[in-house]
C-alpha cells in the first residue's frame, strides 16, 4: 500500500537555528499517529514545516506526500493536495466572516482541481452540515474568523474548517491545549467522524487525554528534535506515569 506521507531525514529550523535533527516518519492511509514530547522538542516546528510556514527553513531531507515532493509546493498548493494544519493559535481575521472565508477556501480548492465553484445554495448546505458536526449554531457562520473566540471555540472552529475542506492528511497541533472536558469531547467526536481508510492524521500533543478519545494507531515521542521512541498507546501510558524523562532513545 502506497504511503501517504514519507518524511525522510528532515532537518529544519528557524532564524538560523536547527530544531529538527533528522526526522524519519512514514504514515499510511487510514492511520492516525500521535507525536508527543516536552516543550521545545520541535513538535510545532514539525507541523509548521510540513504546512510550509514561511519563517522555517528546511536544511536537508525530503518529504513525499501522496508520492509528490511536498517541500517544493507553496502552502496553498499543499492545501489543495489535501494537507490541513489545525493551528495551535488560530489567527484572527477581522471583518471576514467564517462563511466568506470558507467559501474562498473551498472554491479555491475546487478551482485548483479543475472543478466548478459551488453554487451558493450548495455551499450553504455544506456549511450547515459541517457546523452540525461540531455542534456549532447558525450564528457561528456570521462571526468574524477567530475574533473574540474563546480557546475552546477556536479549536472547535479549526475542526469545523477541517470538516469543510475534507483533507487527506490533517496535522492537529496541540488541539487539546486550553480545552475543558466537554470541548475536548466535541473536538474528538469531530475528528473521529472524519476518519476513513484513505485519510490520515498526526496528533501533536503533551497529554494522553485526547488520545484516549481518538485512539491513535502509532505513538511517537519527539525529544530535542528527534523521534526517540515509537510504539503504541502503552508509550502514552508510560509518559503519563513517568514523564518524558522516563523515555530514552
Amino acid at each position: 500500500m502506497e504511503n501517504l506521507l514519507e518524511i525522510i531525514d528532515l532537518h529544519a529550523g528557524i532564524e538560523g537555528k536547527e530544531i529538527l535533527h533528522g526526522i524519519n516518519l512514514t504514515i499510511r492511509p487510514g492511520e492516525i499517529h500521535a507525536v508527543m514530547g516536552p516543550n521545545g522538542a520541535g513538535k510545532s516546528t514539525l507541523g509548521s514545516v510540513l504546512a510550509g510556514r514561511p519563517d522555517y527553513t528546511v536544511t536537508s531531507g525530503s518529504v513525499l506526500f501522496n508520492g509528490k515532493d511536498l517541500l517544493a509546493m507553496t502552502p496553498e498548493e499543499r492545501s489543495w493536495e489535501g494537507l490541513f494544519l489545525s493551528f495551535q493559535y488560530p489567527i484572527e481575521i477581522p471583518g471576514v466572516s467564517i462563511t466568506n472565508f470558507m467559501k474562498a477556501a473551498v472554491n479555491a480548492r475546487r478551482k485548483a482541481r479543475g472543478e466548478q465553484e459551488l453554487a451558493p445554495a450548495q455551499f450553504l448546505k455544506l456549511l450547515k452540515e459541517k457546523m452540525a458536526l461540531v455542534g456549532m449554531k447558525g450564528e457561528f457562520a456570521k462571526r468574524e474568523v477567530n475574533v473574540g473566540f474563546s480557546g475552546g471555540e477556536k479549536k472547535r472552529g479549526e475542526v469545523f474548517q477541517m470538516a469543510m475542506l475534507d483533507p487527506l492528511f490533517s496535522i492537529l497541533d496541540e488541539t487539546d491545549s486550553g480545552l475543558d472536558v466537554d470541548a475536548l469531547k466535541i473536538v474528538a467526536d469531530g475528528v473521529n467522524a472524519l476518519r476513513s481508510p484513505e485519510k490520515s492524521a498526526v496528533i501533536i500533543t503533551h497529554y494522553k487525554h485526547l488520545l484516549e478519545l481518538i485512539t491513535p494507531d502509532v505513538v511517537h515521542v519527539l525529544k530535542d528534535g528527534r523521534i526517540i521512541a515509537t510504539g503504541g498507546m502503552e508509550l502514552a501510558d508510560r509518559i503519563e506515569n513517568d514523564g518524558f524523562e522516563g523515555i530514552n532513545g
Binding site: 514561511p54 477581522p94 471583518g95 472565508f101 479555491a108
Partner: protein, 484 residues
C-alpha cells in the same frame, strides 16, 4: 493544480477594464483658459447672463489665487492650466436631438451603466435613476418623469439652469463660495455638467439617484458641478461613480459638490471612485481634486458621506459637513486605497455650530506599493456647540515597506460641554494571517483581498449591497501586485 501560466494570465487580465476610449465625434473649445473661452462655454450651454457673470467673477477671483501645495502629495505635478481643453462634448445629431448616439449607448453598456429606463443596473433588483455624464455633458437622465410626479427634480445641472433657474440661483455657491479654494474657483469658472437634485418637503425619494462620470477625450479636464437640496423632512440616497481611459498624461478632475439639508431631512451621499490610477510606474492617471461640502442647515438634519476611493493618481478631497442646525448630525465613512505610485490626502471636516450636534468619522486607509496615503481631518466645536459630540477612528493599513500611511487630524474644542474623541492606529497584514489563509488553500493574492475587505468592512457595509460588492472587487483588483 493550477498552472503558473494561468495564474499570471489572469493577473494580467485584471487590468483597469474601463480604460478604453470611445470612438465618437466630439466638439471642443480651443485649448486654454481666458474670458473668451468661458464665454464660449457659456454660449454652447445656452446659459443666462447671470450664470455667465458668475463664471466670470469666479475666473477673475481664480486669477488672483495660487495652487495650494500643503498636501502630503509630492507627486502632484505643477499644472499648466493653459494646456487643458475645458469643454468637450459628443456631437449631437441635430435632426434627432433626443436620441442617444449608439457609440455612447455602447460605452455605457460596456461600463454596466443603464442609461435607459428599460435596462436594469447589473444585479440590482430595485430601480436606480441615472444621470450619465460623458466628458462635459450629460448624455441622459433616466426616470425624470417618474420622479417629477412626486415633485422631485433630478436632472443634469445644465437642464436645471434652464428649467429651474430660481432654485439653482438660490442655492449655488451658498455652501462652497467661489473663492473658497483654488480648485473651487476654477470649477466655478469652467464647470461643465453635473447633477441637480431637489427633493421637496416631506418627500422620501422612492429610488436611489446616481450620477456616473466618464472622461473620454484626451487633453481635457472634467469639472462637474453637483447641487443637491433636500427640503424639510425630505430624504434621498445618492451614489456617484466614475471611470476614465488609460493614458500616459494626467487629466484633471476638479469637481464641486454642494449639499443643503433642511430641517429633519436626510441625505446619504456615496462615492465609488475608480478613476484611472496611472500605471504601475506612476505614469498617467486622473488628478482628483475635489471640493464637497454639505450644510446641515435645519434642526435635526442629517448628512452621511460614504466614499470608496480606489483610483486616481492623486486624490485630494475632504467631503465636509457644517452642522449648523441644532441636533443635526453627520457621518463620514471612508476607505481610501493607494497602490503603485498613487497618492491620497483625504479626510473630512466636521464643523459643529449648533447644539447637540453629532459627528462620526471612520476612515480606513490602505497603502501598498510606493504610495502615500494620508488622512487629514478637522473637527471643530464652536463656542455655541453645547453638548456636541464627535467620535473619530482613523486606521491605516500598510502593505509592504515602501509605502507611507499618515494621519493628520486637527481637533479644536471651544465648548466646555462638547466631547471629542479621536483614535488612530497603524497596522499591517501579518505574516501569520497570510499563512493561515494560504494553509487553507487561499492564494496569497486572494488572501490579501479578503483581509483588506475585512478591514474595510465597516465602511463597505454602508454602501447599497450591489455597490458594496463592486467596491470590494475594486479593492481586490487595485491591490494587484501589492504583495510578493
Amino acid at each position: 493544480m493550477t498552472d503558473e501560466k494561468d495564474i499570471l494570465a489572469s493577473a494580467v487580465e485584471k487590468e483597469y477594464s474601463e480604460g478604453f476610449v470611445t470612438d465618437i465625434e466630439q466638439e471642443f473649445v480651443p485649448k486654454g483658459l481666458n474670458e473668451d473661452i468661458i464665454r464660449l462655454i457659456s454660449e454652447k450651454k445656452q446659459e443666462p447672463a447671470w450664470l455667465l457673470d458668475f463664471r466670470l467673477e469666479a475666473f477673475r477671483k481664480w486669477k488672483t489665487m495660487t495652487p495650494p501645495t500643503w498636501g502630503h502629495l509630492n507627486r502632484l505635478p505643477a499644472l499648466d492650466f493653459q494646456d487643458i481643453i475645458y469643454y468637450a462634448a459628443p456631437k449631437r445629431d441635430e435632426d434627432r436631438p433626443k436620441e442617444i448616439d449608439p457609440a455612447l449607448q455602447e460605452t455605457f453598456d460596456k461600463l454596466g451603466i443603464p442609461i435607459n429606463e428599460r435596462e436594469v443596473l447589473a444585479g440590482v433588483k430595485s430601480k436606480v435613476a441615472v444621470d450619465a455624464v460623458f466628458d462635459s455633458v450629460s448624455v441622459n437622465t433616466t426616470f425624470r418623469k417618474t420622479l417629477a410626479e412626486k415633485g422631485i427634480i433630478f436632472c443634469s445641472f445644465s437642464e436645471a439652469v434652464k428649467e429651474h433657474p430660481d432654485l439653482v440661483r438660490k442655492y449655488l455657491a451658498t455652501v462652497v463660495p467661489i473663492g473658497d479654494n483654488f480648485y473651487a474657483a476654477l470649477n466655478s469658472a469652467v464647470f461643465s455638467d453635473g447633477s441637480f437634485c431637489y427633493i421637496p418637503k416631506g418627500v422620501k425619494c422612492p429610488m436611489d439617484l446616481s450620477s456616473y462620470f466618464r472622461i473620454n477625450a484626451s487633453g481635457t479636464g472634467q469639472f462637474e458641478r453637483t447641487l443637491i437640496i433636500a427640503d424639510e423632512g425630505a430624504s434621498v440616497s445618492y451614489m456617484e461613480g466614475c471611470t476614465a481611459p488609460m493614458r500616459d498624461e494626467n487629466q484633471l478632475h476638479a469637481a464641486v459638490v454642494e449639499i443643503i439639508v433642511e430641517k429633519d431631512a436626510d441625505v446619504r451621499y456615496s462615492t465609488v471612485q475608480n478613476w484611472y490610477p496611472g500605471d504601475s510606474k506612476g505614469r498617467g492617471g486622473i488628478l482628483n481634486l475635489v471640493t464637497k461640502r454639505g450644510l446641515c442647515r435645519g434642526e435635526g438634519s442629517h448628512l452621511s458621506w460614504t466614499q470608496v476611493e480606489t483610483g486616481s493618481a492623486i486624490t485630494w478631497k475632504y467631503p465636509s459637513s457644517i452642522l449648523m442646525g441644532d441636533n443635526s448630525s453627520s457621518e463620514f465613512y471612508s476607505v481610501a486605497l493607494t497602490n503603485n505610485y498613487q497618492q491620497a490626502d483625504t479626510g473630512t471636516k466636521m464643523v459643529h455650530i449648533g447644539k447637540n450636534t453629532k459627528s462620526r468619522i471612520v476612515s480606513k486607509g490602505i497603502s501598498a506599493g510606493h504610495s502615500e496615503n494620508s488622512y487629514r481631518g478637522l473637527v471643530r466645536m464652536n463656542p455655541g456647540a453645547s453638548h456636541a459630540r464627535n467620535y473619530s477612528q482613523c486606521d491605516s493599513l500598510l502593505i509592504g515597506d515602501k509605502c507611507g500611511a499618515h494621519t493628520f487630524p486637527v481637533i479644536r474644542n471651544a465648548n466646555p460641554t462638547a466631547i471629542v474623541e479621536h483614535e488612530a492606529t497603524t497596522s499591517r497584514i501579518s505574516e501569520d494571517q497570510l499563512f493561515y489563509c494560504t494553509q487553507r488553500g487561499i492564494s496569497p493574492e486572494d488572501a490579501v483581498g479578503l483581509i483588506v475587505g475585512g478591514y474595510a468592512r465597516e465602511v463597505l457595509s454602508r454602501l447599497p449591497m450591489e455597490f458594496a460588492v463592486e467596491a470590494q472587487k475594486l479593492l481586490s483588483v487595485n491591490l494587484e501586485g501589492s504583495i510578493g
